[in-house]
């Protein structure tokens, strides 16, 4: 379940952040200096534990065996195959994100507005990818859309199969993020108000619901994008040289170059998490404001 982890972690991170926010008002009791030393030591240890593999990565990658050099990194970044892989990853990630948002946002809106009865079914369906990890999905997709497809549809050579697979794999994160945002505003009341003012369904969605849930939708988009950028299993076993697959392939012949790209991969992860934290914090404030207004 390595691939779905990002969302779990990031979502849990959000909850944790919100919990911290909620505790804001509580006063810390007086603590004796001796007592607070142990937690501090543990936290320092945790940071060391998190950072050590990265220090090792940098010290191995950015050296020619003796001296510091940026050559492995610049070599790797200048490799046309790297460009191809990162372009492929970014392209598929952008496409998947657009498709996911275009489909998940209206679906979630309609479920909350008109089809509340199948909400439980939707919760079940969107948790399914946790039960069916990427490795199982890959096997299933290859059987249904492989060379001897029972449907007669051979899609293995089409990146669209990858996009469809990633749409499914990121569903637990995208749907949950959008659905939470839909539940945070009073969708029914807002829609009724908008329609009583004469707006049609599409106009209501575009001018009322979309702005009200925008931060949740951005969160969903970021989660989807980062999930796809880091996914290895599906791409590798369907034969696409995305960035993680390229990283793995290049290691055997050029370990220093590959290891220097680990730093790039790490920075992508950082960017995703930080962007999500920023959006999450603003969404926290935004939804309470809306709730108060409603």
């Amino acid at each position: 379940m390595t691939a779905p982890t990002p969302g779990v972690a990031i979502e849990a991170g959000h909850e944790a952040t919100q919990a911290i926010g909620a505790q804001n008002g509580r006063q810390a009791p007086r603590s004796r200096p001796g007592r607070s030393l142990l937690p501090a030591l543990i936290i320092v240890g945790a940071f060391l534990y998190y950072v050590l593999p990265l220090i090792a990565t940098a010290s191995f990658a950015l050296s020619d065996g003796r001296h510091f050099t940026l050559a492995p990194l610049t070599d790797a970044l200048g490799d046309p195959a790297f460009h191809d892989s990162i372009t492929l990853s970014a392209g598929i990630a952008v496409l998947t994100t657009i498709v996911s948002i275009l489909i998940v946002a209206p679906t979630s809106y309609l479920i909350v507005l008109r089809f509340r009865r199948i909400r439980t079914l939707m919760d079940f369906v969107t948790i399914l990818p946790f039960v069916i990890p990427p490795i199982i999905l890959t096997l299933g997709l290859r059987q249904v859309y492989g060379a001897d497809s029972p449907l007669g549809v051979d899609l293995v050579d089409s990146p669209l199969l990858l996009v469809a697979g990633y749409f499914v794999l990121s569903l637990p994160f995208t749907y949950r993020a959008v659905d939470n945002a839909m539940r945070a505003i009073d969708v029914v009341l807002l829609t009724e108000a908008s329609e009583s003012l004469g707006a049609g369904g599409l106009r209501t969605f575009r001018s009322v619901i979309l702005p009200g849930t925008l931060l949740g939708i951005i969160s969903a988009a970021l989660l989807c994008f980062t999930t796809v950028m880091g996914e290895f299993t599906l791409a590798s076993l369907l034969g696409y040289a995305t960035f993680p697959v390229f990283l793995n392939n290049v290691y055997a012949s050029a370990p220093r170059e590959a290891t220097s790209l680990v730093i790039v991969s790490f920075m992508i992860t950082w960017a995703g998490v930080l962007a999500l934290a920023v959006v999450g914090r603003r969404a926290g404030g935004g939804t309470t404001a809306l709730r108060r207004a409603a």
Binding site: P39, I42, A46, L52, I103, L139, A193, L237, P244, T269
Partner: protein, 298 residues
């Protein structure tokens, strides 16, 4: 004409309107899920109960459950690595989360949560290579420890074994545990501690009679997610061992790559076995989480 109150014609219609085009808008979602999630899953289920060539119904694909010919090995290995990394990640994560709660330092808390999110996401191929650079044969830490007189590889450790893989998995399990358990620890009310103190209970008595009972559902729920998290993991193990260690995801990928150890039907049966393990973990987690919210509702 003077505007009057809302007329019946302008009554809210959103929730009352039936039929219309709305169900059609659900179609794209339904089609994608049906064709790229449900159908592949059903195909695996069907394939696991049918013979490859003839298509006859059979239970033979599930032979591995008998354990003959070391056929349960992938499941045993996956269990061992998931269990060990669940325990190590769970214990370390719990200690760190409790330290964060005790430190009562909000900035430090935010910082650690952010770092944990990054670390929990830093899995797969990049993590494998980072660990080779750290505790591989010539890794930074390996050489540092040799300088201190501790020879990891001389003592029989290797990154490319089940034990080594457990060490690597622990790296993403620790931050995941921090993120999962921190909200539960923060929801423990100070009043409970005070009430317990007022009644004359010792610190240990508080832990045993209040903290442990309240936290147990959350703890087990988090541990189940940790277990599932490593049971289904493929990329890290593959990048590190290129498929030499027999884990369930690796065995399934070997079937995809055309390995002859398992035939396609057996591959499907392996996938179903993995899905059953994941279902138990995810369902158990969901049930326990509901249980936990009884006390820990924020």
């Amino acid at each position: 004409m003077a505007p009057s109150g809302p007329t019946t014609a302008a009554q809210p219609t959103a929730t009352r309107r039936r039929g219309g085009l709305a169900p059609l808008a659900l179609l794209p979602f339904a089609v994608l899920v049906l064709f790229f999630l449900v159908l592949p899953a059903l195909s695996l289920l069907w394939g696991s109960f049918h013979e490859g060539g003839s298509g006859a119904v059979t239970l033979a694909n599930y032979d591995y459950l008998s354990g003959a010919n070391k056929s349960l090995h992938p499941f045993v290995n996956s269990f061992v690595i998931s269990f060990l990394s669940m325990v190590s990640g769970g214990v370390l994560g719990l200690i760190i989360a409790q330290a964060l709660v005790s430190s009562k330092n909000r900035v430090l808390e935010q910082l650690t949560v952010t770092f944990s999110s990054v670390a929990a996401n830093f899995a797969g191929v990049p993590l494998a290579f980072a660990y080779v650079a750290m505790i591989g044969v010539n890794g930074l830490l390996t050489r540092f420890l040799i300088g201190l007189g501790v020879d990891l590889y001389g003592a029989g450790f290797s990154l490319y074994t089940l034990a080594g893989l457990t060490v690597v998995y622990t790296y993403f399990q620790v931050p995941l545990m921090v993120l999962l358990i921190l909200p539960a620890l923060q929801a423990m009310k100070r009043e409970w501690r005070e009430a317990s103190d007022n009644l004359g209970a010792s610190r240990w008595r508080y832990v045993r009679s209040v903290a442990i009972p309240v936290l147990t559902p959350s703890l087990i729920a988090s541990l189940l997610l940790l277990f599932a998290n490593s049971y289904g993991a493929y990329a890290t193990a593959y990048a590190l061992t290129t498929g030499f260690i027999s884990l369930v995801p690796i065995a399934i990928s070997n079937v995809i790559a055309g390995d002859v150890t398992f035939n396609p039907g057996q591959g499907d049966a392996l996938a179903m076995g993995l899905a059953v393990v994941m279902t138990i973990c995810v369902a158990g987690q969901a049930i326990l989480q509901r249980r936990a919210s009884r006390w820990l509702n924020r």
